[in-house]
Structures are given as structure tokens and as C-alpha cells.
């Protein structure tokens, strides 16, 4: 488990008042006088938002410690269900069976797209639904077939626990095959750096993670941008969920409340996701 989990623990100790607490006082006031720890793990698409929220909360009230780990949506749901963590994030809606077995309560606080990415040096910038399926199934295996250079395509995919993979597989590949030759990476961040490094690679990543190091590919003529996801034009989209076992209480409830507050939703759009409110 440790080998897999990229621990992104944030421990901000000290009274660094970089973010003026007065300006944000309204939403953060809920944390006044609180004390304790919140353990969060799961979906890696959530990390930028949750990390920023945790930073602001811990700056406002240093007596609260929030630890954030990755692992993937499957890990998030499983660990929160087993009571190992307080909040389990998932980039897909937990299945009915999971909800029933663990008595999960879900909170959707953002909408995210899953974009196809290639290396910035790659001249291929758009793919049809058919082409995408064939590339990931390994039927198209040279960039020349797509109008690129005469080089074999390296397909990157995510592990079984990934919600990003579940959504991409369902909505972009229509539950089609993924070639057994595909390389596996274990987080959205790892996918981005793998594609940024490999000139002939192709993969998929949460829209919030797309930046200059990778080039986003238009899918069926629609670019994976925040705007298109918001308008519903870009179809490979999903909700970002935070799940708790039973009704959340204490700090977990306040943490989720903060993500759903206007300030939390501001962080959501700042980090490249679509707010739900």
C-alpha cells in the first residue's frame, strides 16, 4: 500500500499569516477553537483543491492537522469504509453496493473533465471517438496513422483503483478494450509527468491537472477546457466526491462544509475545476 500511496502530507506548523485571516474570516470561522486531526485519502484529482483548503484551514487554526494522501478512488472508498480515514475522496460516484456495504455519505463538490493528453511536441491535436478507441485498444499503434511522425504510440493508463480510469473507460472508450501493452501509472500527477517526458506517449488526465507541460487533445471536436465542461459540451466529465462513513461529524463535517462554502468553491474554480454552486 505504501509503495502505491504518494503521501502528500502537509504539516504547516507555526503562525504564518500569509493569507490574511480577516479577509476569509466568514467561512473559516467554523474552525475557531477546534482542535484535532483530519485524515483524507483517495482520488488524486482532488489533491490540488483539498491541499489548498487544508493549507488555509491550518493557517487559520494551527491546532488542526490535516493529512492528505493519494491512492486512487478505490483506495479512498475502501479506507473510509474500513474506518482508517475520516474522508475518502473519489473521482467517481461510489457504486450502490459500496454505498450499502459501508453506509457511505457522498458530497459532490466539483465537476471535472477527463482530457486526453499528448506530449507538447506531438503534432496530433484532435481525435475522433473512433480513433481514441482504436488507439487505446492498440489497433492504431503508429502516430503516422493519425497524421503524426512515424513512431510507435505508447499508451499510458491508470491502475484499477483509479476513478479517472473508470470514467474515461466508460465515457470515452465506451467500455472498450485497453491494450495489454499499455504502461500503468498510479496518479494524475504521475500521468502528467509521464506524458510530459515521453514524446510519443498518450494518456488521460483530470482537466484540473492540464498545464503547459502537456498538450490537450480535442475529443470529437471539443477541447477539454473548463468552459466546455461547464457548458456540458465536453462529455468525458464526472463529479468529484468526498465520502464519509455514516453521517460526517466534527472536523470532517466542517472540512466538507468548507469545500462547499463560497470560499471553497472559489478554490475549486481557481484550481481548474467546475464548482457545483
Amino acid at each position: 500500500m505504501k509503495a502505491k500511496t504518494l503521501l502528500v502530507s502537509v504539516f504547516l506548523v507555526g503562525w504564518s499569516l500569509v493569507f490574511g485571516s480577516n479577509a476569509n474570516a466568514t467561512a473559516l470561522e467554523a474552525f475557531k477553537g477546534e482542535k484535532g486531526t483530519v485524515k483524507i485519502a483517495g482520488g488524486t484529482a482532488h489533491i490540488p483543491v483539498v491541499k489548498e483548503a487544508a493549507k488555509r484551514i491550518m493557517t487559520y487554526n494551527p491546532a488542526i492537522q490535516i493529512s492528505i494522501a493519494g491512492g486512487g478512488s478505490g483506495v479512498g472508498i475502501k479506507q473510509v469504509g474500513e474506518g482508517l480515514i475520516d474522508i475518502g475522496n473519489s473521482g467517481r460516484k461510489p457504486t450502490d453496493e459500496e454505498i450499502k456495504r459501508y453506509n457511505l455519505h457522498m458530497f459532490k463538490w466539483a465537476i471535472d473533465g477527463v482530457g486526453i493528453v499528448v506530449n507538447p511536441k506531438n503534432p496530433v491535436t484532435s481525435l475522433s471517438k473512433e480513433q481514441t478507441r482504436n488507439v487505446f485498444a492498440g489497433k492504431i499503434n503508429n502516430w503516422k496513422q493519425l497524421g503524426g511522425t512515424d513512431k510507435p504510440i505508447t499508451v499510458y493508463t491508470r491502475d484499477e483503483a483509479s476513478g479517472t480510469r473508470a470514467v474515461f473507460w466508460k465515457k470515452a472508450l465506451a467500455k472498450g478494450d485497453i491494450t495489454p501493452r499499455a504502461n500503468f501509472v498510479v496518479s494524475n500527477g504521475a500521468m502528467k509527468s509521464a506524458i510530459a517526458q515521453d514524446p510519443y506517449g498518450i494518456g488521460y488526465v483530470s482537466v484540473g491537472h492540464i498545464d503547459d507541460t502537456v498538450s490537450a487533445v480535442t475529443f470529437c471536436g471539443v477541447a477539454p477546457t473548463l468552459d466546455n465542461v461547464k457548458k456540458g459540451k465536453y462529455t468525458i466529465a464526472r463529479g468529484l466526491y468526498s465520502n464519509t462513513k455514516g453521517k460526517p461529524g466534527g472536523l470532517a463535517e466542517k472540512m466538507i462544509g468548507y469545500l462547499l462554502s463560497s470560499e471553497g468553491q472559489e478554490i475549486v474554480s481557481e484550481k481548474g475545476f467546475v464548482p457545483v454552486k
Binding site: K4, R181, F184
Partner: protein, 287 residues
């Protein structure tokens, strides 16, 4: 008084020894019990030969077994000449300050965490291999086994050089008396006398290479296919366990990783039996 003390200490030590010994056996028992649904009905052998394709309800671990063997043995193959040369320099050929310095470095290397090697592999070795061969992503069997060679060689070097040092001094003096050179000493006396130690070191290195997770997970690419060439991406049993462990507890995917555990356990057991077989002198002292 002293006798009671001694008895007490003896009992405490016996307790800790039996706890640690029984742990190993308990782990095997645990894996067999949890893997029992797979073991009964011959499903276990199906698993060993089938491909991995959860969508078609095939949970075979054949690609991972082949990936593990390919990466581990290639790694030891690369590490072997490196370690032999290094150990020879440390124990026989090198001048004292050089060999002492080298030995310190090698001892230090045994303590470097594998994740560091993984990082070096991702950022230096993988792009290099990709550009050199112009095929695939660079995340392949070759990259992983090269990095694994760096990981296992310190263990092998220290083991080799220890066994070189155990060659009786009278033999070495005899070579000196006959006017033999250092190279002759190494080739005709030290290597033939220390062959058991060399074999044991090799088996030990193989065991370590089979069990390593992070290097293969980070730079072998983790594709679920039996590698056809050294430039193919592959997945080891250990990284397979790490990648699948997040799946649903009730699913067959999850249950199948117990088969991985049992196979890995068997590999390691074979390695240990190998060490015992090659080292009868060691057995005499322990029994």
C-alpha cells in the same frame, strides 16, 4: 542468583526467537488460507498460465510471473560481472587505501532506499534508454533490470568479498612465495576456493531482485503482458500486488493477489534452499 538470571534471559530469547520464526510460517498459512478458494479445483494452475484481463474474467498471473523472472534474472546477470570485479578489487587486487574506500562506498550503498534508485531511473535512465533505442517509452524490462543491478550489487559485492577473505592465508602466502602476481592469485586460488560463496551471493542477489517492488513499479511500465523483448514494458508480481491491492476486497481481482503472494513465497523459499544447498559448511555450524 546468576543461574535464575541466565534461565530467565534464555527463556526470553527463546520466546522472541520462536515468535519471529512462527511469524514466517503464520504468513504462509495466512496466504494459503485466504488463497484456498483459488487453490481448490485446480484454479491455481489456471491462474499461473492465463493472461490478466479482468473484463473477460481472466485473472491469470502468467504475465507477471514472466515479468518478475525476466527483470530479476537480467538484473542479476548485469550485477554479476560488476560485483565480481568490484569484490576482486576490494579483496585482492586493489591497493589498501583504494579497496578500503571502495568498501566504505559499497557499504553506504546498501543503505540507500530503493525509491531513490527509482527516481534516478525515471529521470535519467528511462529517457536515455528511450532515446538510445528509439522504441517505446523507455519504461521497460531493460531499464528496470539495469537499475535493479545497481540495487543488488552492493549486497553481492560484500558477500563476494567476504568469501574471498575467507580463503586461507597460507594458500595466498604460497602464491607469493612462488612469485605469482596478484591477478594469478585471484584467478587460480581465490576464485576457485570461493566458488560456494560466489554462488550463495548470486542466489542472495536473485532473492533480493525478486522481492523488490519500487524499482519495477516506477520504471518497468507495468504493462500486463509477458515481455517479448527487453524493450517491452512489463509488470512484476510485487508491483502487481501494489497496483491491485486497492481493488474491492470481495472481487476476484483482490483474491488473485494471494496467488501472487504464494508464488513469490515459493520463489524466495527456493532461493533460501539454494543458499543452504550451496553452503554445507554453513549448515554444519548452524546445526
Amino acid at each position: 542468583m546468576i543461574k535464575i538470571h541466565e534461565k530467565l534471559i534464555e527463556k526470553v530469547l527463546l520466546l522472541s526467537a520462536s515468535v519471529s520464526a512462527s511469524l514466517t510460517i503464520l504468513i504462509l498459512g495466512f496466504m494459503i488460507v485466504l488463497g484456498l478458494p483459488l487453490l481448490t479445483g485446480g484454479l491455481f494452475f489456471d491462474l499461473l498460465t492465463q493472461p490478466w484481463s479482468p473484463r473477460q474474467e481472466l485473472y491469470g498471473i502468467y504475465p507477471m510471473v514472466m515479468g518478475t523472472l525476466a527483470i530479476a534474472f537480467l538484473g542479476v546477470l548485469f550485477a554479476c560481472p560488476l560485483s565480481l570485479g568490484c569484490a576482486s578489487l576490494i579483496s585482492v587486487l586493489g591497493p589498501r587505501p583504494v579497496s578500503l574506500f571502495l568498501k566504505r562506498i559499497v557499504q553506504f550503498m546498501t543503505g540507500v532506499p530503493t525509491v531513490i534508485y527509482g527516481f534516478v531511473g525515471v529521470f535519467l535512465l528511462v529517457p536515455f534508454i528511450r532515446e538510445l533505442f528509439q522504441a517505446g517509452s523507455g519504461m521497460c524490462v531493460l531499464s528496470a533490470s539495469l537499475m535493479l543491478a545497481v540495487l543488488v550489487s552492493p549486497t553481492m559485492i560484500l558477500f563476494f568479498s567476504d568469501s574471498f577473505n575467507q580463503v586461507p592465508a597460507s594458500y595466498l602466502n604460497a602464491v607469493d612465495a612462488l612469485g605469482g602476481s596478484r591477478v594469478q592469485k585471484l584467478l587460480y586460488i581465490v576464485l576457485p576456493c570461493a566458488w560456494r560463496g560466489i554462488l550463495t551471493g548470486l542466489v542472495l542477489g536473485t532473492g533480493r531482485a525478486l522481492g523488490d517492488t519500487l524499482i519495477a513499479l516506477m520504471i518497468a511500465g507495468n504493462a500486463v503482458q509477458a515481455p517479448g523483448s527487453v524493450l517491452d514494458s512489463a509488470r512484476t508480481l510485487t508491483s502487481h500486488i501494489a497496483l491491485v491491492i486497492a481493488a474491492d476486497y470481495e472481487s476476484l481481482e483482490f483474491k488473485s493477489i494471494f496467488a501472487c503472494g504464494i508464488v513469490l513465497y515459493m520463489f524466495t523459499t527456493l532461493a533460501v534452499i539454494g543458499i543452504r544447498a550451496f553452503n554445507p559448511s554453513d549448515r554444519k555450524t548452524t546445526l
